[in-house]
Every structure is written in structure tokens, then in C-alpha cells.
């Protein structure tokens, strides 16, 4: 253990001083985007715009932190968007059902939150067990559960929309709209999750084990790493983080429907890849993911703040920027 730590600390400074485009690439792309945005619209750098963008990227951001671990260990979770919709639906049903008995106070919301987190963990456990014990490709397992969660939320909502009780909504509101010391709550939660994730990824055995499994599963097994347990934990962590994101999502619009969280899985995966994590596994950066998420939201924001392209071309513009961001990091691999 200490040997690993010394090699790590030895390698760190070397990395920092050589131009590491895998880390610098996304940062560069982000800086270019900020300059572009600021030059196109005077309000781009206004505090309210920045906090809006950061607050609404917190859902994808928190989910993407979990996805960083799953992908680093060579897995994939396509079910996160549907899972978020399902968890939001269940939370709303639980809270609405408890209101007649317990009123509209915080106790009801806390029970709803606990139910959401427990269910999220259980859903992640299910995915993880099917991958590790069932020996089914993660792509297939989560493609399957993606459909299951999506149908379940449609079923629960009877094809329509589940809406949170309006009085509870007033109590719950501050969890998305409130702020502490001027910082909106979702941004704080996102920051805490990202910092803890970064510590787990870079400073704790769990993160190193994820990378080891992702880069070579056999070698990891011979190095006495509990491959299945670590892999299972990445899916449980992903499930819990989806639940955390849902806790913030529910008070925003107070509703869940089958349209909730559509394509979040792709956004989360894109953010992870833009941030420099390898899709094949073996190398992961939580900070990169955070930058990836912000890049994705900023593209959206800039397109809404300007009329430079026809709205029909927004998707193309987004695609070009995503590919450019990844291209910036690929050039480093060629240099090596």
C-alpha cells in the first residue's frame, strides 16, 4: 500500500508539469466556450446566468460523477435517466400518500427522500448483481433496466404526469431554489459530491481498484482485488447518486412523467468522456467529468442566449463542440 502511495505521489508532480491535454483539453474547451459566450451576450457572465446554468447541470453532474466510476471500471449504465424518472415518481407517490396522516412538514419529505435513496441503492444493486453474478454484459443489463424503469414510471403515472402535493411543494421548494451564503443548494450538493468523488477516485483504494479493473480485469484479479465486489459497488454508488440527483430534481418542477430524464444517460456518458475518462475503462477523472458537464450545459445556454445559428442547427453545433472537446484530448495520446 505504501509503495503504491509513494509511486503515486512521485508521479503526480511530473504529470502536473508536463502539458497533460487529457486534463487540459476539456479545461481549454471550457475557457474557449466562456470567452465565446461572453463575447456574444453581455448577460452571459451575470451571476444569475452562471448560477442558473450550474444549478440545472447539477442533476446530470451528480449522476455523471457516479458514471465516472462505472465507466472507469470498464462498465456502463444506460439506465440512469429512466431510474431518475422512476425514483422521482416513487418519491412523489410516497410523499403524497403520507401527507394526509403526517401533514406537509419536513418529516414527510425526509421519509420520501429516504425512500428515494433506498430505492436508488436497491436499483443499483440489482444492476450490479446482474452484471457481476449474472455475468451479463453491462450494456445489456442496463438497456433492459432502462426499459423497465421507464415503463414503471409511465405505469405509475397512468401515462400522464405525477404531481407533488402543492403544499408540500412549498416546503420542499428551498432544496432546489434556496441558497446558503448566496450559493444555490444544488450547486453546493454537486460540489460536495464532486469533491468526495474526486477524493474517492484519486486518493482512496476504491478509485484505484476501479481503474485497475477497467484497465485489465485479469491482472486486477491476480492482484487480489475483489473485482466483483468493487464492480458491484460502482453500480450501487451510481444508484445512490441518481437518487441524490432526484432529491434535487423533484422540488424543481414537482412532477415526474415518462418524459423525465430522457437521454440523461447519454448526457452523463458524454460528460464523462469529454472530461477525459476513457470509455474503455482504466482511467477516470471526476474533475474532468465536472468540466464536461459544465461544457454541455454551457453549449445549451449559449445557443439559447444568441441567435447565431438557426434553431434547426443547434444539435449540429452541439455535436461539433463535443467532438472538438474530445479531439483536444486525443491529440495528447498521439503525442505520447
Amino acid at each position: 500500500m505504501s509503495a503504491t502511495e509513494t509511486t503515486l505521489t512521485k508521479r503526480e508532480p511530473a504529470r502536473r508539469w508536463s502539458p497533460n491535454l487529457r486534463v487540459l483539453g476539456p479545461l481549454l474547451a471550457l475557457i474557449l466556450l466562456v470567452i465565446l459566450g461572453a463575447s456574444l451576450n453581455g448577460n452571459f457572465l451575470s451571476p444569475s446566468n452562471i448560477t442558473n446554468v450550474l444549478a440545472r447541470s447539477s442533476f446530470i453532474g451528480i449522476i455523471a460523477v457516479g458514471a465516472t466510476f462505472v465507466i472507469t471500471s470498464g462498465g456502463l449504465d444506460l439506465s440512469v435517466g429512466s431510474m431518475a424518472a422512476f425514483l422521482a415518481g416513487v418519491m412523489i407517490i410516497v410523499i403524497n400518500a403520507l401527507v394526509p396522516r403526517f401533514g406537509t412538514g419536513w418529516s414527510v419529505i425526509l421519509i420520501g427522500m429516504a425512500a428515494g435513496v433506498a430505492l436508488g441503492g436497491a436499483a443499483g444493486l440489482g444492476n450490479g448483481l446482474l452484471v457481476t453474478r449474472g455475468r451479463i454484459e453491462a450494456f445489456i443489463v442496463t438497456l433492459g433496466t432502462m426499459g423497465i424503469f421507464r415503463s414503471l414510471v409511465t405505469f405509475l403515472a397512468n401515462g400522464g404526469t405525477l404531481s407533488l402535493n402543492f403544499d408540500v411543494m412549498d416546503t420542499y421548494n428551498p432544496v432546489y431554489y434556496g441558497s446558503v451564503l448566496g450559493l444555490p443548494v444544488p450547486i453546493i450538493v454537486f460540489a460536495v459530491v464532486a469533491i468526495l468523488g474526486d477524493i474517492a477516485m484519486r486518493r482512496m483504494p476504491f478509485g484505484r481498484h476501479c481503474a485497475a479493473i477497467g484497465s485489465n480485469e485479469q491482472v486486477a484479479r491476480y492482484s487480489a482485488i475483489h473485482v466483483d465486489t468493487v464492480r458491484l459497488l460502482t453500480y450501487v454508488l451510481q444508484g445512490v447518486l441518481v437518487a441524490v440527483a432526484t432529491l434535487l430534481y423533484v422540488p424543481r418542477l414537482g412532477s415526474a412523467s415518462s418524459a423525465t430524464g430522457v437521454l440523461w444517460e447519454l448526457e452523463a456518458i458524454a460528460a464523462v468522456i469529454i472530461g477525459g475518462t476513457t470509455l474503455r475503462g482504466g482511467y477516470g477523472r471526476v474533475w474532468g467529468t465536472v468540466i464536461g458537464v459544465i461544457i454541455l450545459s454551457l453549449i445549451d445556454n449559449i445557443l439559447n442566449l444568441t441567435n447565431i445559428v438557426s434553431p434547426y442547427l443547434n444539435g449540429a453545433f452541439q455535436g461539433v463542440i463535443i467532438i472538438l472537446a474530445v479531439l483536444l484530448q486525443r491529440s495528447r495520446r498521439a503525442n505520447q
Binding site: N41, N43, S46, S48, N49, N52, R56, T154, A157, N158, G159, G160, T161, S163, Y177, R252, L253, S255, S257, S258, A259, T260, V262, D300, N301, L303, N304, L305, N307, P311, Y312, N314
Partner: protein, 319 residues
């Protein structure tokens, strides 16, 4: 032999009792296939609800009518549903709300060529003359009704933003009619952007519009889901007294707000998912009513105000 004859007699008697009192046409049963998109957002959720409600009612009323209902998430699945309906379920008529009318034109044409009665709901096929009956909402009407309301509220001009739907023909018809209705007025469209008929996107796009424009007098969101997202963003920015929002389609929450006289939701414009029920009922009439049902049936997109909102309020519908 004798016993067999008694049995046969008893059976025919029983059948006779069940169908007695109903017309001669009862000898034959008819199967009507209903194909709708799966509930992937609020409005299609309403479509599924009204389709099921119509089927339940008609099955009860007319024992000689059978229904096959299929929901499809994508055009490929919907096309396969049609093949199954023709080859294994032997339908006599098809009622279809095509998710993507261009992709489904030729599968529907094959159903028609197999000699089935075809009713198309809501979306125009890319080739005219295939369907026997066309039941649809009035998309240009939705844009025009909303546009006329804006024109009436802003005789001296105003700044508005437009949250569009998805980049498909329906959206374009609505937006073109809206623009035509406000042309010649002093209303200024500051910007328009796709919000995909979705709450989250309505919230996001509106937040960005709010930081981009210091003065917005009203919002045309075209859809009630989008409008709810936009309203939430406006409230968050504390600008709820500066502007109002017009959605569309008649979601029950939106109608409720109009009924209650909510300042931010002064009106709504109808585009009722119940139209699929109208289509199924009319198609059933072709077989049990003996009345002509071929043609076009366009359901108006009415202006829903506080005075008439109760008429459009379906509290039991999921939408």
C-alpha cells in the same frame, strides 16, 4: 344425436337471447384495430387514456365490436403492429395516430390495399387519399387562436418570446399561423427556441431567455407542459408580475389555473387528446350505425377562457 341436437338448440337460443334486441347486422362481428404512440409525454398519455376509454365504452355498447389496441414507441414498432393486425388479428378497420406520419404512410397504404377501412388521427400522411376518414386537431388553428389573443392583448405592441415544440411539421404549422396572426401588429418576437414540448426544456430555455432579455411582456409556449416549466423559471427569477404565459393543448392543470383566474395563465388553447376517442367512435359508427362516416373531421382549437374552462376540464384524465 338427440342430445347433440338439444345442445345445439340451447346454444343457438342462448346466443339469440344475448344478441336479441340488436339489429340484423349483429350476425357479423367486426374487429377494429387501434394503433397509438406509447405514452412518452403528457399529451400521448392523454391519447392512450381516451383511446382506452372509448374502447371500453364501445365494447360494452356493441357486443359485436372487438378492438385490438397497440401502443408503439417508435415507427418501426408501429409498422409491425399494423402487419400483425392485418395478418393475425384480421381487422376490418384501422384507427391510427401515426407517431411519424411520413414513415408510416406506406405501411398504412398496405392496410388500405388489403381492403380495410382506414381512419387517420391528428397527423397528415405524406400521400393524400389513403385514409377513408381523417380526424384531426387544428394545428394552424392553435397558432392562429393564440396569435389573435396576443394581438388583442397588445394593441400598442409588446415584447414576447416563443418556446417552440419539436422541429416537425405540426410545430411549423402552428408557428406560421401564429406569426401570420400577429403580423401587422407592433408585437415584437424577441427570440424563439425549441423546447420540445417538455417541462425541463421549458424551464431551461425560459431561464436563458430571462437572463437575455430585461423586458419580456408575454410568452407563447405552445404547450402546457412547456408552459409549466417556463412559469417555474419566471417565478424563480421573481418576474411573475411582468409577464404571462400561453400554453396549449388543454392539460388539466393548465385548465384549472385558467378556471381559477391565475394571472400568469390567462387563457389556454385547446388541442384535446380526446380526438382519438372521437375517431374510434366515428369508425365504430361505420359498422354499427349505418351512417356515412367518410371524410374529414377537424376538431377546433378553441380559446379557453375563465368563462368556458369548465367545459374543457377532465379531472379523471391523466393529462
Amino acid at each position: 344425436m338427440k342430445r347433440f341436437r338439444t345442445l345445439a338448440l340451447a346454444t343457438s337460443l342462448a346466443t339469440g337471447l344475448v344478441v336479441s334486441g340488436q339489429a340484423i347486422a349483429q350476425d357479423k362481428t367486426y374487429t377494429i384495430g387501434v394503433s397509438v404512440p406509447s405514452a412518452d409525454h403528457g399529451w400521448t398519455g392523454g391519447v392512450d387514456y381516451f383511446a382506452q376509454a372509448a374502447i371500453t365504452r364501445l365494447t360494452k355498447t356493441y357486443p359485436n365490436l372487438k378492438f385490438v389496441l397497440a401502443t408503439a414507441a417508435d415507427p418501426g414498432k408501429q409498422a409491425s403492429d399494423l402487419e400483425d393486425m392485418v395478418s393475425t388479428r384480421h381487422i376490418d378497420a384501422l384507427v391510427i395516430l401515426p407517431g411519424d406520419p411520413d414513415a408510416l404512410t406506406s405501411p398504412i397504404k398496405r392496410v388500405k390495399q388489403a381492403g380495410k377501412f382506414v381512419t387517420v388521427v391528428d397527423r397528415k400522411l405524406s400521400q393524400p387519399g389513403i385514409e377513408d376518414l381523417y380526424v384531426a386537431g387544428d394545428n394552424p388553428g392553435l397558432g392562429r387562436t393564440a396569435g389573435e389573443y396576443f394581438a388583442s392583448r397588445f394593441p400598442d405592441g409588446g415584447n414576447i418570446v416563443v418556446l417552440r415544440g419539436l422541429p416537425i411539421p405540426i410545430d411549423k404549422e402552428r408557428v406560421d399561423a401564429f406569426n401570420a396572426a400577429i403580423s401587422g401588429t407592433k408585437i415584437k418576437v424577441l427570440a424563439s427556441q425549441f423546447a420540445n414540448w417538455n417541462r425541463d426544456d421549458g424551464f431551461k430555455v425560459m431561464q436563458d431567455f430571462l437572463s437575455r432579455f430585461p423586458k419580456i411582456d408575454a410568452v407563447w409556449a405552445q404547450d402546457d407542459d412547456t408552459a409549466i416549466g417556463a412559469i417555474q423559471a419566471i417565478k424563480q427569477a421573481g418576474r411573475q408580475n411582468d409577464m404571462w404565459v400561453v400554453g396549449g393543448a388543454g392539460m388539466k392543470q393548465a385548465i384549472k389555473e385558467v378556471m381559477d383566474g391565475d394571472k400568469m395563465t390567462p387563457i389556454d388553447v385547446g388541442y384535446d387528446p380526446g380526438m382519438v376517442g372521437t375517431a374510434i367512435e366515428l369508425t365504430a359508427l361505420k359498422f354499427v350505425g349505418g351512417v356515412p362516416v367518410r371524410g374529414k373531421f377537424i376538431i377546433q382549437s378553441p380559446l379557453i377562457t375563465q368563462q368556458n374552462a369548465a367545459e374543457f376540464y377532465h379531472p379523471d384524465s391523466p393529462y
